[in-house]
Every structure is written in C-alpha cells, then in structure tokens.
C-alpha cells in the first residue's frame, strides 16, 4: 500500500483527494450531482481525446492535429446538417473525415518516416484552414433539437451520451493498453522501436493504427462538441491539443514514450477538472486557472527529477 502511494498514480491520488476536500469545504454547491456532471461536460471532448492521446504518447509519438480534426469534423457536421442532411448521414461523413485524416498522418509517419511532430503540426494548420474555408467568418447552428438534446441532456439517468462514451473508452483503452498484445506492442515500441523491430513486431502497423484511432476519436469528439454547443465556428476547438497533451503528461505518461498508465491519465483528468471547477465556483478567472494548471505541469515534470537528484546525492555522499 505504501509502495503504491510512492508511485506516480499514488501521488496523483493524494493530490486529487486534496482537491476534492478543498472544493467540498469552500464551495458548498460542489458536491451536487449537477455540478459533478457539469464539471465533466465542460471539457468532455478534450478528455475523450486525451485517452487516445495517452496511447499515442506512450508509443513515443505525438498527434498535434487532434484539435483541428475535432474542429473540422464539427464544422463538416454542422455544414451538412445545414444542407439538409440527416444526423446519421452527417455523422458517417465525419467519421470518414477522421479516418481519412488519420490515414494521412499514419502514412506520412509510419510508412514515409517523417517525425510525427512535423506531420501533425502541418495537418493541425491545414485542417484548421479547411474549417475556416467552409464556414468563413460566420457560425453554423440551427441543429435539429434531438441533436442538441443528445449533446446536453442525460442519456442514462443524468449521464449524457458523451460521458457514457468517455467511461466506455476509459475502460476499453485501459484494457487495450494494459492487457492486450496490441497494448504491449505500443509500450515496447514506445520504449525502443528498434528492439521491437528486432523482435519481429510490425512497428509501422502499430503506429499507423494509433494515428487512425486518434483521428477517428477526435472526429467523434468534434461531433459531440457541435451537438453540445449547438453551433460551431472556424475556430472551434482551437488550441485544445495543448490542454489534451497537458492532461496526458500530468498523468505520468513519459513524453519519451514507454512509460505511463491509463489510471494515471484518468486521475490527472480528475485533478484538472476539479481544480478548474473549484476555482470557477470561487470566482477565480479562467486565466488564473490556466496559470495554476501550468504550474502543476511544471511541478509534475520537476518533482521526479528532484527526487532522482536527491537520491543520487545520497548515494554519492
């Protein structure tokens, strides 16, 4: 038990419990069911994408294009609805957009061999451009009511569709990463891709699969985003990729790949959501909230280094 608390997840759990306690003490409305759901709903699309981003980073890659794919998918969804398409048809097209975007990333990274940082940075800019071309300077809204209901109202009890999806993905991707052969390959490739290749693993296939998964899930998140807000613009989901990557890194996933757990990412998501929510209830502005999260991230990177350094010094002395 003490050993478990010494791990990264153990530390995160303590921080999370402290956040909960502070929130409950200072903001009486914090513990209401509605607030708990709101707290997830406000960032639901980001945290859904963070789950798949965790796999990508574990694999020692990065996908900066997620937010632009979300934006593009949201815009395409809204555009098609405005053109009189049904929700189902529009969703299928959006999935197609995600699949295509993912395949472009996959081919350029896994087959051609260009670093994912460059490929997905280019796609981040490119897809954002497409979104802006489609909607110009206006916004697209007027969705059928059932779609906004699905985006905002409870589906199972008070839980909206997007939250149900989040928890299904959390469990599904957690099992995929930690219990399946595919997940093991992701970790090994993230640790050392050459060792993986010399062990007969198909490195490019695993990488390609991850990039396709990342874009498809981003496209779904984009549709959820459109449905929740009821209207989209060319800059929808702008800059989300950085919040998403922050959640993953704070969760203890190594930016160099190979290390991390889905539990860590989940706890990090809980901490960030609760911190933001608590600060909001205390009328602390969004800018300050962002600053606090930034400090948290720096500390999370700094702390393990300090601990290692202290241990090394003790060994030397």
């Amino acid at each position: 038990m003490i050993g478990a608390l010494k791990s990264w997840e153990g530390g995160l759990l303590l921080v999370f419990l402290a956040t909960l306690a502070l929130n409950a003490a200072f903001a009486p409305e914090f513990l209401t069911v509605q607030n708990q759901i709101n707290l997830f709903q406000l960032s639901i699309e980001k945290i859904i994408v963070a789950l798949v981003m965790a796999l990508v980073i574990m694999n020692a890659e990065i996908d900066l294009s997620v937010a632009s794919v979300m934006g593009l998918s949201a815009v395409v969804f809204a555009y098609l609805l405005n053109q009189g398409w049904g929700g189902g048809g529009a969703l299928v097209v959006c999935l197609g957009v995600g699949l295509l975007a993912g395949m472009v990333n996959a081919v350029l990274v896994a087959k051609v061999g260009i670093p994912s940082l460059v490929v997905t940075l280019a796609m981040m800019i490119g897809y954002r451009g497409f979104s802006r071309v489609i909607v110009q300077d206006t916004s697209l809204g007027n969705f059928p009511e059932w779609i906004t209901d699905l985006g905002q109202q409870g589906l199972i009890g008070p839980l909206p569709l997007s939250m149900v999806l989040f928890f299904l993905l959390l469990v599904g991707l957690g099992v995929l990463l930690h219990r399946t052969g595919f997940g093991r390959q992701v970790v090994v490739i993230g640790t050392n891709a050459e060792v993986a290749r010399f062990s007969g693993l198909d490195v490019s296939r695993v990488k390609a699969t991850l990039f396709v998964m990342s874009s498809v899930i981003s496209a779904i998140a984009g549709v959820l985003y459109a449905a929740r807000l009821g209207s989209v613009r060319g800059d929808s989901a702008l800059g989300f990729e950085l919040d998403i990557i922050t959640m993953v890194l704070l969760g203890g996933v190594s930016i160099f790949g190979g290390k991390g757990s889905m539990m860590g990412v989940f706890l990090s998501i809980l901490i960030i959501l609760n911190l933001r929510n608590g600060m909001a209830l205390l009328n602390i502005t969004g800018h300050v909230q962002t600053g606090v999260i930034g400090i948290l991230l720096i500390l999370s990177v700094l702390l393990p280094n300090i601990v290692t350094e202290l241990r090394a010094r003790r060994a030397r002395a």
């Binding site: 052969g181 093991r184 640790t191 050392n192 060792v195 290749r197 010399f198 062990s199 007969g200 030397r316």
Partner: protein
C-alpha cells in the same frame, strides 16, 4: 608505499544494503600499467567511480602522492591528475581534433590562437606515438581514433593516473595493437595506467602488475611474471572454469537445416555459401568490418539479401522481414543488448515473452498473464537468471543476466536456426562459460547454430566449422580440425593462407 601516485586505504562503499566495495586497499605506482580484473559485479565500476570522484567512499581514504584528498567530483579528480576513458569515447563531432583535445582547458582570452593550439595538439599526439591530423573534424573519426583523442585530452590535463575501462571492447585487432602501444607511450612518460579489461591476453601483454578483485574485495596484487591465466581466472571466479577447452573435433550432426548459396546484399557483402546441419555450430570469424553481422541481418530479414538463394530444410525461401524469418524458425540474438536486444525499462517477463507474444494471446487479443509469468519462471530456472523477481526492470540486471534474458526471449520462439551475434561481449568469465554451455546444449538438442564472434578463443571453443570473412566476402570455410587461431587470423587479414573449400 610512500612512492604511490594514487593509493586507496580500506575504502568501503555500499548502496542501500549491498556492499559494492569492502576494505579495498590498492596502491598505484607512477609509470606502471596496473591491470584490475574481476567478474562483472566484482566492484570494478564502483572502484573507478570512487577514484574519479563520481562516488565518495563510506569509509577509508584516498591518497594522491601521499596526501589525503577528498574527491567531490570528476573535476576534483582531474585537478589531482586522475582521469578515465571508457569503452565509448565522448568527442564533439562538430569540433576539430585539436579543439576536442583542449575542450576542458582552452587557453583563456577572447581569441583562440589556432596556430599555437594546433602545434600543442600535434605535440601531444606525437607523444602518444600515433599519427592523427589534429585539424580534421572529429565527426569522421573511428572509435579507436576517438579514444586517442580522449587520451590526448587527458594528457593535456597533465594527467598522472589514467584509467582505461574496457578500452578495447569494440576495437579491431590492429586498433588494439595501437592502443597497447599508446599505453606503453604513456607509461614511458611516467603516467600510471590503470587497465581494466576482460581480455586476459591483453593484460599479459601490457600489464606490469595485476590486481584481482572479487565480491568487492581485494584478492591479490602480483607482478605479471608471477601470474598464470588459470590462476587469475580461478581467483576471479573463486572456482575453476573449463570454458576455454579447445574443440578439436566436430560434433556428429544431422540433416542440413539451412543451405545458403551465393548470398549477398548489394554494396555490403557477397558470395557467402554454406550448408548448416542440425546440431552444428558454425562460427563466423573475421575482423571488425568484415560484414559478418550483415550476413546475420540478411538471414533474419532486417537488411534482406539481394542476391543468392536460401534453402530451409530443402525448400527455397525468401526472407524480407524479421517476422518471416521467425515464422521459418530463425532467431537472431543481437550483439547490442541495449539498443537492439532488450526493452531495458520493461520487466523481465515482458522481455522474455516479447518475440512470442502471439502464443499468449486469447480472446480479444488479451495476454494470458498467468502463462506469461510461468514462462518467465521457467526460464529463470532453466538458464539460472539471477533476479529476485521476474517483474523487475531488465535494465537493473548485470550484463550476463541480461544476456540470459535475451536468450530466453529467443529460445521461447523454439527456433530451428539460431544466430548469435557476439553472444558474450561485455559479460564476465563466469557468465561467459554459462552462455557457452547453453549454446552447446542447444546444439546437442539439434538446433542449427551460427555464432558471429570476434573472440577467437570463443570460436575455437564452440565451432564445428569456421567461416572466415574478409571485407564482405567469404575468405574460407574451415573444419575445426584444420582451424587454428593463427590460420583464422591469417585468412581474416588476407595474409598467407590460401582459400579453403
């Protein structure tokens, strides 16, 4: 012992509960080559780190020329005239040789006096008795030349004691000669050289005195004239070892498992032909750069062959990916554990199951974790992998145990043809004997084995036949009864000996 340039008195050092060094006393005389030998884990690295100020001893003292000193950092050690060079030299590729030599003691002042610097560098390199253009960029230097630069750097710092840690581990035969002559040149200038190597033949050629350490303790220090190889090995391992018995007759072998005809890869190697029978051990010998590893990589599909034919159990096959090679029952145990062999930060069990993960997958691609753990335990017993728990990171094991984990990974694929690339590089005498034992056992079980090795005594101890390569071509194929170290070297270097069938 007042003449000693560096002396350790009753030095001890522990990490957590394990004592790495116990009551270690050692005196190094000026101008001597002092060899330190011991198995991996005997405490050699800790000893070096204490002498170079990386660690501080828990007890005991360090004296430099009779003065007690405290070494807090490598800079402190350098100021006292103690420096070390390692297996993998550190040079800055974008600087030229002279800049690399003077990297840590550039003349002060805003402007570099290039002419003076080149002249000084030339003088230092000449002192080492080697020729090296100090104006060229360091980027194209061979490993051996980079080492020369490091030694020159140490010399520029007025070094009194130079520690060489496994300096010849990755050098070819003539580069080793050059290094040994550099060590002699240093000695002639009054520098004490501490020479650490697994290669006992080098020690007999260069050392004045030999210190054996075992389990963190000083066992003996003797003038080289009073030491025999058997005696030294016995002291190192605390028991006798028969690993270096030379094979004189080939084992009885079975049907041909792998037949290679005119194998080649454009621009890399060509014309390699041999038949490998079940239960046979074929050693690939040759100088560094003879492209032996490339033959292994071609057979394993990493860098596929572009010419020639391959037959496995009589049927022609083409191998273009490792997966295909593995499906055909071919395994390749890489020479580079760290970069190509093991996922160092992952647990032992995950490394063992890595190449046979498919066998462990159940419904939905879930890994059968019980079977996986049992598999690891099985190999722990079979290969005597010394680890408290198969869930610890493989990087925390000693080199010999890491090698066994890598072996386990490939044995689990149940290969019919097993290619070992430098199977005992950088592991100690005891583990080496164990690895040789495993290779012999596999051969007796009918596995066809290829061993790529630069270690000639190893070749002589393992091979049924020796395939000698020179500059990407097959220079000859010898039966063990007609092979001798001299003949193999002559063939590999292209002097004398005519080609055999």
């Amino acid at each position: 012992m007042t003449s000693a340039v560096l002396e350790l008195r009753s030095v001890a050092k522990s990490f957590a509960a394990t004592a790495a060094l116990r009551d270690m006393s050692l005196a190094i005389e000026p101008g001597e080559v002092h060899a330190i030998v011991g198995e991996n884990g005997a405490g050699k690295s800790t000893l070096i780190k204490i002498m170079t100020g990386v660690y501080r001893p828990d007890a005991g003292e360090i004296l430099v020329e009779g003065r007690a000193v405290t070494l807090r950092s490598t800079q402190d050690a350098q100021a006292e005239g103690i420096a070390a060079i390692y297996q993998e030299p550190m040079v800055f590729p974008d600087l030229n040789v002279a800049e690399n030599i003077f990297i840590s003691n550039r003349a002060s002042g805003a402007f570099l006096n290039w002419r003076a610097m080149f002249a000084d560098a030339d003088r230092i390199v000449a002192q080492l008795g080697v020729s090296l253009d100090v104006r060229r960029a360091a980027s194209g230097l061979t490993l051996a030349e980079q080492q020369t630069v490091e030694i020159a750097r140490a010399l520029s710092l007025k070094v009194k004691v130079l520690i060489m840690d496994e300096p010849t581990a990755s050098l070819s035969a003539h580069e080793v000669e050059r290094l040994l002559s550099i060590a002699r040149a240093l000695k002639a200038q009054g520098v004490a050289v501490i020479y650490i190597s697994h290669r006992l033949d080098e020690i007999f050629r260069i050392a004045d005195r030999v210190t054996v350490i075992r389990d963190g303790q000083h066992i003996s220090t003797r003038p080289i004239g009073e030491v025999t190889e058997e005696g030294m090995v016995r002291e190192m391992v605390g028991r006798a070892i028969d690993s270096f018995a030379v094979k004189t007759e080939a084992n009885a072998v079975g049907d041909v498992a792998l037949s290679v005809q005119g194998l080649g890869r454009a621009g890399v190697f060509s014309g390699v032909s041999f038949d490998l029978a079940k239960g046979e051990v074929l050693c690939l010998a040759g100088l560094v750069g003879a492209r032996r590893t490339d033959v292994g990589l071609a057979l394993f599909g990493i860098a596929p062959a572009t010419e020639g034919r391959l037959y496995l159990h009589g049927a022609e096959v083409r191998i273009t990916t490792p997966r295909q090679a593995m499906d055909l029952g071919i395994a390749y145990v890489s020479e580079d554990r760290r970069k190509l062999g093991l996922a160092m930060t992952l647990p032992i069990f995950a490394n063992i199951s890595l190449a046979s993960l498919r066998k462990l997958l159940g419904a939905f691609g879930l890994i059968d974790r019980k079977t996986e753990a049992a598999m690891a335990e099985d190999y722990r017993r079979q290969l005597d992998i010394r680890a408290p728990d198969m869930r610890i990171e493989v990087g925390k094991l000693s080199g010999g145990n890491q090698q066994k984990v890598m072996l386990a990974k490939w044995l689990e694929t149940k290969p019919g043809v097993l290619i070992f690339d430098e199977p005992t590089r950088g592991i100690d005498v005891g583990a080496k004997a164990e690895v040789h034992g495993i290779i012999r056992r596999l051969a007796s079980e009918g596995v066809a084995i290829i061993v790529i090795s630069s270690d000639l005594p190893e070749v002589m101890a393992l091979a049924d036949r020796v395939l000698v390569m020179r500059e990407g071509r097959q220079a000859g194929l010898l039966d063990i009864s007609e092979a001798s170290q001299e003949r193999v070297i002559a063939m590999a270097a292209g002097t004398g000996a005519t080609e055999a069938a």
